[in-house]
């Protein structure tokens, strides 16, 4: 099992598979030993579909602009030009690509931290305090999960242009701070992960409500918080529509909007000549940070995700 965190997800009397395997020793391991070659072959074949495009992208970033279109896509070209391409990428138009990656990181990290903080506070309070208006607030937030963010983007643009916030970093960060699904996830997670009797015990020991939240609850909620953080990070990192309509100044672009503009310049063949090899190398470089983050943080988000799904 890869989920290193003991999952506090199913608090009912029925043990999860993991607990069962711990209790009963070898039996489930024996079951795992019975490999199915048919399933193995089918699944490994589907990997071609998911991974070959990315292999192609890597190989393309090692080719010269000419080789890109004249050599076979799934092998190296005549010359190995990866370092030339990367050099070209980082110096093209005074190194604006570095700036775009910096912007992406700034927008994504600020929004993700803010969104996770707001969602954790709100979700925890909705799960652990009984008060008047609680179900109304929760219903309101749950309804908001259904509203597509892009349907909101144009109205938000109109509002921001009235408030002179268009073409500033705030135009990207502020709308990304709202994560109704994050609130929902933390609420469900907190219901099981933070035991009421523990809160009571802390109260009897004289701990204030905020101390309980910052020292006890936040620690128990960590896998849920990482999940919300990571998914908020992805949605801002990968966002294209919002920055496309909000920003005009290329110095403020995130990598998605910048690369799309380069791609259009490359296909259009207009005045500012952008090479296809530069666009593809930029695409490859821009996906590395997120893929690495997901692989390294997998044990957190995988356990956090199961909550939202099970109790949904």
């Amino acid at each position: 099992m890869t989920l290193a965190t003991p999952s506090p997800l199913v608090s009912s009397s029925a043990p999860t598979r993991k607990e069962a395997s711990r209790a009963r020793g070898k039996r489930p391991v024996e079951r795992d030993k019975r490999r199915s070659s048919v399933l193995t072959i089918i699944l490994w074949m589907t990997l071609a579909y998911f991974l070959l495009p990315l292999v192609w992208l890597f190989l393309s970033s090692t080719k010269t602009n000419g080789d890109l279109f004249s050599t076979f896509g799934l092998w190296f070209g005549q010359t190995f030009a990866l370092f030339d391409n990367v050099g070209q990428l980082f110096t093209f138009q005074d190194g604006i690509f570095v700036r775009w990656m910096g912007n992406t990181a700034l927008y994504a990290i600020t929004s993700a931290v803010g969104a996770a903080l707001l969602a954790t506070m709100c979700g925890y309070a909705l799960a652990k305090y009984v008060f008047k208006g609680r179900s109304f607030v929760f219903a309101l937030i749950l309804g908001a999960v259904m509203v597509p963010l892009t349907a909101l983007a144009i109205p938000t643009y109109l509002l921001f242009s009235a408030a002179n916030l268009v073409d500033t970093p705030w135009a990207i960060i502020l709308p990304s701070l709202v994560s109704p699904f994050g609130v929902y996830l933390i609420r469900v997670y907190a219901a099981d992960a933070v035991d009421d009797s523990l809160i009571e015990a802390a109260r009897i020991d004289g701990a204030g409500e905020f101390r309980i939240f910052t020292t006890i609850a936040s620690r128990l909620l960590a896998p849920g918080i990482v999940t919300v953080l990571l998914f908020a990070l992805v949605s801002t990192w990968n966002n294209y529509f919002l920055p496309l309509i909000m920003l005009n100044n290329p110095a403020l672009f995130p990598a998605t909007v910048g690369l799309a503009q380069w791609q259009q310049a490359a296909t259009g063949g207009g005045g500012a000549q952008v090479l296809f090899s530069t666009v593809l190398t930029g695409s490859f470089v821009s996906i590395i940070p997120l893929v690495v983050a997901f692989l390294f943080l997998q044990r957190y988000w995988q356990s956090g995700l199961s909550t939202g799904g099970v109790k949904g």
């Binding site: 506090p8 109205p155 893929v291």
Partner: protein
């Protein structure tokens, strides 16, 4: 990270602790609850409710050459409902809902069930590898597939020619919808698979063991026990896919630059709203389209939930 162990041993007896809490709720707790909730609510109101209200307000006006903006009631909405471009986009979204979403979710469910049996060699690697495309931005995915689709020197054309076949025209007007569906599926099969897989891992083992003792095969167990057990997770993936289909924008907007003849300004409702707002400068009409879209999605999500709830009651 060892998160919970100390608390696990005492299973919370929910009803009693909840009622005890209700009777002992005190002032500082009430204050703490609202203090934790209010920051989110403020941002939520400013970034969610206000824009929504503002869009509703704007959508009831029409700008005219003479006299500027004039209140026009629901005129923009009846205009949208009679607009062939709006319906053309909705038609393509419907194709997504009835073709792409089922295919994507069935594949995701199949992979999740296969991995959950634990009989796949290198299952952990397979799981992560299939998930990786989710971390790739839609812009990069579209750009990449655009090159792969290219009729002259794209990878798919190269492979077809290598075995002596004619290269398919994946960017032609007839095929562009299918090509777009493929990009979206590539991006999201892994995400849906992980959600379903995570749900499968938390189903109590006893349910399988009873079935195994009764002699149920792997397929039977999957169909009669595992799938019903993760119905909430399946519903979650359906609703998110429905919302995703209505939001379709990145893929057609980027494919436009390489296949301008195949993708018009109204390929998806969202793309149409964008073009109305920023190319035609008709803000009021765009607001009406955005509002109508949000309304449609809420209705459809509600219907999906209702249908699932009824099925649950019947079974």
């Amino acid at each position: 990270m060892s998160a919970a162990p100390p608390l696990r041993r005492t299973p919370p007896s929910r009803a009693s602790s909840a009622s005890a809490r209700r009777s002992t709720i005190r002032r500082p707790q009430l204050f703490a609850a609202w203090a934790l909730i209010v920051p989110f609510l403020i941002v939520f109101a400013a970034m969610f409710l206000v824009p929504l209200g503002y869009a509703g307000y704007l959508s009831t006006f029409t700008s005219q050459l003479v006299g500027g903006e004039v209140f026009s009631g629901l005129a923009n909405y009846s205009r949208a409902l009679q607009d062939p471009s709006f319906w053309a986009g909705l038609g393509r979204v419907a194709m997504f809902l009835f073709v792409q979403v089922p295919i994507m979710l069935v594949i995701a469910l199949f992979i999740a069930l296969a991995l959950d049996t634990g009989r796949v060699k290198g299952g952990k690697f397979v799981r992560l590898a299939i998930f990786v495309p989710y971390a790739v931005p839609g812009v990069v995915a579209t750009l990449m597939w655009g090159y792969l689709y290219g009729t002259d020197s794209g990878l798919i054309a190269q492979l077809f020619r290598a075995v002596g076949l004619d290269a398919p025209t994946l960017l032609s007007p007839q095929n562009i919808l299918g090509s777009t569906m493929n990009i979206v599926s590539w991006e999201f099969i892994g995400y849906n698979m992980i959600v379903l897989y995570a749900a499968l891992r938390s189903v109590p083992t006893e349910m399988y063991e009873a079935a195994e003792i009764d002699g149920a095969g792997a397929w039977r167990t999957a169909w009669s026990i595992k799938i019903p057990a993760i119905r909430p997770a399946i519903m979650l993936t359906i609703i998110f896919s429905v919302i995703g289909s209505f939001q379709l924008f990145n893929e057609p907007n980027l494919l436009y630059s390489i296949a301008p003849n195949a993708i018009g300004s109204d390929f998806s409702p969202n793309l149409y709203a964008y073009n109305v707002a920023f190319k035609n400068q008709d803000i009021n009409y765009a607001a009406a389209i955005a509002f109508l879209l949000g309304f449609l999605i809420m209705i459809i999500s509600y219907v999906v939930q209702l249908a699932t709830a009824r099925k649950e009651r019947l079974s």
